[in-house]
């Protein structure tokens, strides 16, 4: 009897323990942030005054623009929380937003910025020139990705609403910087707060609701009733849901759990068949960055004929159709069609021609081919087989070297590989700054010629037609000298549910927050 009781007791304790642990586990979230999945099964209606839910493939952290990344997820959240001094327009131009006027001097070394009057941060502090100056200094020492852009800049406060940004070298990128992270100004009080990274205070149209958010999963932002332009934002609540899995994003769209989500090229047809509205925007170029132009790792690459042969080894139309899922535009220029720097007549310069490529290699003294290594970065090797096969077709043996994702930047940017499967940035100024100029990060071996340096200086220090011509000349120069074997420009694709409209902007490849509207 005693034994039976003990056993029964044991079973009871086991049962209670299991139930208790499950309840404890489930209830623990009460104390922390509640893990609400906005919409869940009921869906998100996205009506005026309601909630709009956007899926982000990237976790938009930290919420502090001093340390924030330049990825698309943070851009949306930063715009919502902080607004921007400048903004992109549909034609790719950058115009004042929280600023009212930005005037550059004759060589783009000084920009005079006038701010909108009467704007306040959500903590009641006044948005003024000093707030920007304090912010910029914080970015310089904040250790975030924008620090590199901020360091060459100095700010002089002229009056409460006016400041000057100066740099020693001509810097045409300043307006774009003010449309991005450096234009997302937080309250000066946030900068000194211990929880600055998780308690953002800005002057944007929305305010972070920490209680209804779970970092890494769901970010809930509610309307800022004091925003200077609140009527432009029809939704009272903006929820950003982190969905890293593409299948999860399209499923969430189909079931109305989210209203806007990025889709992959392979999901475009499925999205259209499901009745989603698709937005497409040509964005980064895809191809190969022929980085070792001085032949430091592979001497053969110093010969321009060898680099040109590589450019001819790729069938761009077939690549766009098959490797990019038909979602892109074939081309051999770094600047996309319709943007400054693109020249239509150069589109066929390196037509696919294996025989001509082989003869160029032979002319250069490499008829027998040569070998080189390309990185196989964990998770981003999808184009490597294509590169290996096409290079082999002209006699170049490419071998993959495994690179853990954590070491990708260190190894690739450290100059370990002569050829890097490449993607380019979207705007002409950014492209020159990040891929072509001598200090550009993706000019991995920091190669430059006097002629190209002069063109870069002209582009950096001019505006209007002169700058446009300089971009075209740069595009032609890097094309003639085969710095990049470009295949084309892939589309950024966003799916929208039936009740929502939004618009893509050429330079950001992300539907802009201020274009989110209820439909019908």
């Amino acid at each position: 009897m005693a034994e039976i009781s003990r056993r029964a007791l044991g079973k009871g304790v086991l049962g209670l323990s299991m139930l208790g642990i499950v309840n404890l586990a489930a209830g623990c979230t009460t104390a922390g942030q509640s893990s609400t999945a906005a919409g869940a099964a009921s869906g998100s209606a996205a009506v005026k005054g309601g909630t709009i839910t956007v899926a982000s493939g990237v976790d938009p952290v930290p919420l502090n623009s001093v340390k924030g990344a330049a990825a698309l997820g943070p851009q949306l959240v930063f715009t919502a929380l902080y607004d921007n001094l400048m903004r992109y327009e549909a034609d790719g131009s950058v115009v004042p937003h929280l600023a009212t006027k930005v005037v550059a001097n004759e060589n783009n070394t000084k920009f005079t910025v006038t701010l909108r009057d009467g704007v306040k941060f959500t903590d009641g502090e006044t948005f003024n020139a000093q707030a920007f100056a304090t912010f910029l200094e914080a970015v310089k020492v904040g250790g975030g990705p924008a620090a590199g852009d901020a360091k060459p800049l100095t700010v002089t406060v002229k009056d409460a609403l006016t400041f000057e940004i100066a740099s020693e070298q001509p810097n045409a990128k300043v307006p774009e910087l003010l449309a991005g992270t450096l234009g997302a100004v937080p309250s000066p009080k946030q900068l000194t707060a211990a929880d600055a990274d998780v308690a953002p205070v800005g002057a944007g149209p929305y305010v972070y609701d920490k209680a209804k958010s779970t970092s890494g999963n769901t970010y809930t932002l509610t309307r800022n009733p004091g925003h200077w332009n609140k009527d432009a934002y029809p939704y009272d609540t903006l929820v950003v849901k982190v969905l890293t899995d593409p299948a999860a994003r399209i499923n969430a769209l189909k079931t109305n759990q989210v209203n806007i989500a990025e889709l992959s090229a392979t999901q475009a047809k499925e999205g259209e068949a499901s009745g989603l509205t698709l937005l497409r925007q040509a964005q980064n170029w895809a191809g190969v960055n022929i980085a070792d132009r001085e032949g430091k790792l592979v001497p053969a690459l110093k010969d321009v004929r060898v680099r040109q042969a590589i450019c001819m080894a790729f069938d761009r139309e077939a690549i766009v159709k098959n490797a990019l899922g038909g979602e892109g535009t074939a081309g051999n220029q770094v600047f996309p069609k319709g943007m400054a720097g693109h020249v239509d007549s150069l589109d066929t310069q390196y037509a696919f021609n294996i025989e001509k490529a082989k003869s160029l290699l032979a002319e250069a003294g490499f008829a027998g081919g040569f070998s080189l290594e390309i990185p196989a970065i964990d998770g981003i090797t999808q184009h490597n087989p294509l590169i290996i096969t096409q290079l082999k077709a002209i006699g170049i043996t490419a071998t993959e070297v495994k690179v853990p994702i954590q070491q990708a930047f260190a190894q690739v940017l450290g100059g370990k590989f002569p050829l890097v499967p490449g993607v380019g940035v979207s705007t002409p100024v950014s492209l020159v700054n990040e891929m072509i100029s001598v200090s550009a990060v993706w000019n991995i071996f920091h190669t430059i010629t006097p002629e190209l340096a002069a063109l870069v200086t002209t582009a950096q220090s001019s505006s209007g037609a002169t700058q446009k011509k300089a971009f075209e000349d740069i595009g032609k120069y890097v094309l003639d000298n085969a710095y990049f074997a470009v295949w084309g420009h892939s589309n950024a694709i966003y799916g929208l549910t039936s009740k929502v409209s939004a618009a893509m902007l050429p330079s950001t490849s992300l539907p802009a927050l201020r274009t989110y509207k209820p439909k019908g």
Partner: protein, 312 residues
């Protein structure tokens, strides 16, 4: 029993120290790569070096581990390199999600496995054959495929259950339960398949033993023979199997958390690894080990209750 528990706890502490140190040594051995990953691709080498030094990644690994361990013992796991969150707070929001997923799956797997395993062992014939076929199929289909099938069928096509997301029970208990149906089922298919075939095998072994025949000849009821004697003796290996299953689920939960966008520990560990968020990653490792240690301890204790020889 107390000595038994004390021995297990001492070995658990050793295990925690060993695994955290090995993890620490592995991930901190390349501080420059961590700094570069954190800053992205548009900063100069000098800025990467500055970040590397700022985070203290230039110090010897043993020294860094000592500092981390000392702080961890006081409950301070630091702040996330990426989000700036207090790591302990972040873990406390993620751990319950993963534990709920694992424990609910385990609970259902236990019930289904015992039910099906015993039925197959006792009934034999077509019941046994069906179970074997179902187990092979259930165990062979990858979790990911099961998850996608469930989402497409029950969320996208029939709109019965949410496709993604987790709702905290204090916000909406019904939605909490609904949000877990598909993720739990996705893991349960494989878990129940392997669990039931294990229980079946153990039960068959027990039922062939002489003491079972003796009990039957003494007129003990078949129900008592099965559930009070044979199942109890078969439960030991079954419990160990369940423990292994639970530990496997902790590691495998990342896939399910990703597909269903659940804010669990698995996804946190995964993103922390990719983004170089070492304080967060170390906390994920620490808490995963602690959960494993607790699961092992509970199983050891249960085995000790079932079979006193284990305590020796």
């Amino acid at each position: 029993m107390l000595t038994f528990i004390a021995k297990r706890l001492v070995s658990a502490v050793g295990l925690v120290l060993l695994v955290t140190f090995v993890t620490f040594a592995l991930v901190f051995s390349n501080g420059m790569a961590i700094a570069r990953t954190l800053l992205g691709n548009s900063v100069s080498e000098a800025e990467v070096v500055a970040k590397y030094r700022d985070l203290g990644l230039d110090q010897p690994v043993v020294q860094q581990y000592g500092q981390w361990l000392g702080a961890a013992l006081t409950g301070n796991l630091g702040r996330s390199y990426v989000s700036g969150e207090v790591v302990a707070e972040a873990i406390m929001t993620r751990l319950p999600v993963t534990l709920t997923l694992v424990l609910l799956t385990l609970l259902f797997a236990l019930v289904i496995s015992v039910g099906l395993g015993v039925a197959a062992a006792v009934k034999g014939g077509w019941v046994d054959r069906v179970l074997q076929v179902v187990s092979v199929v259930g165990g062979a289909i990858p979790q990911f495929i099961v998850a996608v099938f469930l989402v497409v069928t029950f969320a996208v096509t029939w709109r019965l259950l949410p496709a993604t997301g987790y709702v905290s029970p204090d916000v909406d208990p019904v939605m909490w339960a609904l949000s877990l149906v598909l993720p739990v089922t996705a893991i349960l298919v494989g878990a129940a398949a392997s669990g039931s075939i294990q229980i079946r095998g153990r039960m068959l072994d027990e039922l062939r033993k002489e003491y079972v025949a003796t009990l039957r000849t003494r007129g003990i009821s078949e129900r008592s023979v099965l559930f009070k004697h044979a199942l109890r003796n078969a439960a030991g290996p079954g419990l160990i199997g369940m423990g292994i299953l639970a530990i496997g689920m902790l590691g495998g939960s990342v896939l399910i958390e990703r597909v269903f966008a659940l804010p669990g520990l698995g996804m946190l560990a995964n993103t922390s690894t990719v983004s170089g968020d070492i304080p967060m990653l170390m906390a994920c490792v620490l808490f995963t080990i602690l959960v494993v240690v607790v699961i092992n301890l509970v199983i050891d204790l249960l085995l000790g209750v079932l079979n006193p020889k284990v305590r020796l």
